[in-house]
Amino acid sequence: MNYLNQLTIKQALSGLEQKEFTCQELVQDCLQAIDKHDPKLKAYLTVEPEQALAAAQKADQNRASGQAGFLEGIPLAIKDNFSVQGMRTTASSKMLDDYVPPFNATVIARLRAAGTIVLGKTNLDAFAHGSSTETSDYFTTLNPWDTSRLPGGSSGGSAAAVSADLCLGAMGSETAGSVRGPASWCGCTGFKPTYGRVSRYGVVAMASSTDSPGPLTKTIEDAALILQIIAGQDEHDSTSSPLAVGDYLAACAKEIKGVKIGLPKQYFLPEISDDIKQAVMDAVREFEKMGASVQEVDCLDPKYSIAVYTILQRAEVASNLSRLDGNRYGNNRSFMGDEAVNRIMSGTYVLAAEFQDQYYRKGKKVRQMIIDNFASIFEQVDVLMSPTFPMLAPRVGASQETAIFGELMDVLVEPSSLAGLPGLGIPCGFAQPKDGDKKLPIGMQIIGSHFSEELLFSLGHAYQQATSWHLEKPMLS
C-alpha cells in the first residue's frame, strides 16, 4: 500500500489540486512515518505534530478558498540550523539547547509564505561542523540504506528524512559538501546553489563566505520547486545576489543537446573505488547519448582546497562562534562540543597576528587561484562531473578516526564551494561495500559556473528522465 508521505512534492501538489486528498491527510501520513521509523533512524531532533497539523488545516482552508500559495500544504523537514520562529533551534549544539528563535530565517519566511508546513527540525553535525552527523551533541542519524552506517553530513538528518520518506522534501545548508554529500550517501537529490543565490539570514552561521542554503529532495524537479521560492535577493543579507531568479521548472524541460561536459582528471582519485568511478562514467555516457559532448579537463589539485578550506572555514567559525557568549541567548561556552572547540582553536590560531600571513592571507590568495582556475575551465566546458564523496557510506564511528574527517570526505566538493559555484548531487547507481552485504547509493555531482542553476536543472532532469536510480527506496524495517 502506498502512503502519501512517499509522494514527491510535484505529485502531492497535483493530488491536492485534484482534491484526491487533503493537506491534513498528507501531514498525518508524514507524522505516522516519523512515529514508525524515526526512533531508529534519528533524522529529527524536534518534531512538532500540533503545529504541523494546525498549519495543514490552514492550508486546506487556503486551498478551499482559492488562496493557495505556490507550495500550499507541502510538509517539509528543516535542518536545525534554520531559525524557525517559535520552534526550538539548536544547530545540534547543547549551547543552544533551549533556544527558540523570535524570528524566521528568510528561507523559512519564504517557504511559509508559499504555504509549506514545517514538520520539524532535523539533526546535523553540531553547528554544521562535519560530514557525518556524528558531531551532533544529541545523537547520530543513521543511514536508511544500512542503519549501521553514516548518512553523511552536515545535513544528514534532512537527507535521511527525505530518503526514508519522513517528509516530502527538506532544507539543508552547504558550506562545502553538506548538501551534496549526504544526498550522495542517502541516495537523494541535493542542490547547492551559487553562493548568494539564497539568503543566509537566520541560518546559524558556519563559514559566512561559503554558506549556501539548498534543498534535499526526491527528484530534481522538487528541488526546482523549492529553489524557485527561496532564491532571490534579501535586504537582510547583503551578500545575496541582485541577479534575477530564473524559471527553474521550465529549465527542467530544456534539452541538453550540445552541452559540453568536463571530466576533471584530478577528481578521479586513485583511492576512489572502481564501483563509484564506473557509476559516474556510466552516467556521463547517458549524457553523451542525449547529445552532450565530453572531454577531460585539468583542474587545480583538490588537495589544495582541503588546506584552504581548513584555514578559511575554521577562521570564520572562530569568528562566528565568538558571538555565542551565553549572555543574550544560549548556554555558556563550556557547552561547546569537542568539534566546535577543535575548529575554534584552529581558527583562532590561523587568525592570530603572528600567523596571519602564513595561513589566513595565504589561504585567501589560493582561494582566488581556485576561482581563477574554475573561470578558465568554464571557458572550455559548461559543467564538470565527478563523484561527490570519495567513498560509500562508512560505518558509524568512522569520523572519529581523524580530526579532519569532514574536510577529507569533502575533498571533491570543497573546490567548487570555495569558488561559490552551484553544484547538483544526484544518485547515479548502487554498489555493495567490501565490508557489508547491503547495497549503498552512489552519488555524483554536476558543477556549473556562477548562477548556472538553470543548466544544472536541465541536466539533472534529463538524467532522471533517462534513469531510475532516484526512484529506488531503502527497505525500512
Partner: protein
C-alpha cells in the same frame, strides 16, 4: 614540503585563552594534537607561488552593497530578551568585567 609544525602546550593554552575556552588537563593534549593535525594539512599550500595574487574579495564579485538608513519594524524588547539566561529591568544581565 616543509617540516611538520611544532606546537607546545603553552601555545595551545594561549589559543584557548584567546578564544575564551577553558580546557581541562586531559583536553589540553587532545586539542593540541588536533590543532597540529589541522595545521599540518595546510602545509601543502607552501608549494604554491602566490606572490602576485591578491587575496580574494567577494567570491561572486559583489561590491559596495548599500541600503537606505531607515528604521524598520524589528524585535520588541520583550522578544529580544526572551532567550536571555539572565535579564533585569529590560536589560541583558552579564558578568562584571571590571574589577572594583
Amino acid at each position: 614540503m616543509s617540516e611538520e609544525i611544532k606546537l607546545t602546550r603553552e601555545q595551545t593554552l594561549n589559543v584557548a585563552y584567546l578564544a575564551d575556552l577553558v580546557l581541562s588537563e586531559e583536553e589540553i593534549e587532545k586539542f593540541r594534537s588536533w590543532l597540529k593535525e589541522a595545521l599540518d594539512c595546510t602545509l601543502v599550500l607552501q608549494e604554491l607561488d602566490t606572490t602576485h595574487l591578491l587575496q580574494v574579495g567577494h567570491i561572486t564579485g559583489l561590491t559596495n552593497v548599500w541600503q537606505e538608513d531607515v528604521i524598520k519594524p524589528s524585535l520588541t524588547q520583550e522578544q529580544a530578551l526572551a532567550n536571555a539566561p539572565r535579564s533585569l529591568a529590560g536589560y541583558f544581565r552579564v558578568n562584571c568585567v571590571l574589577e572594583k
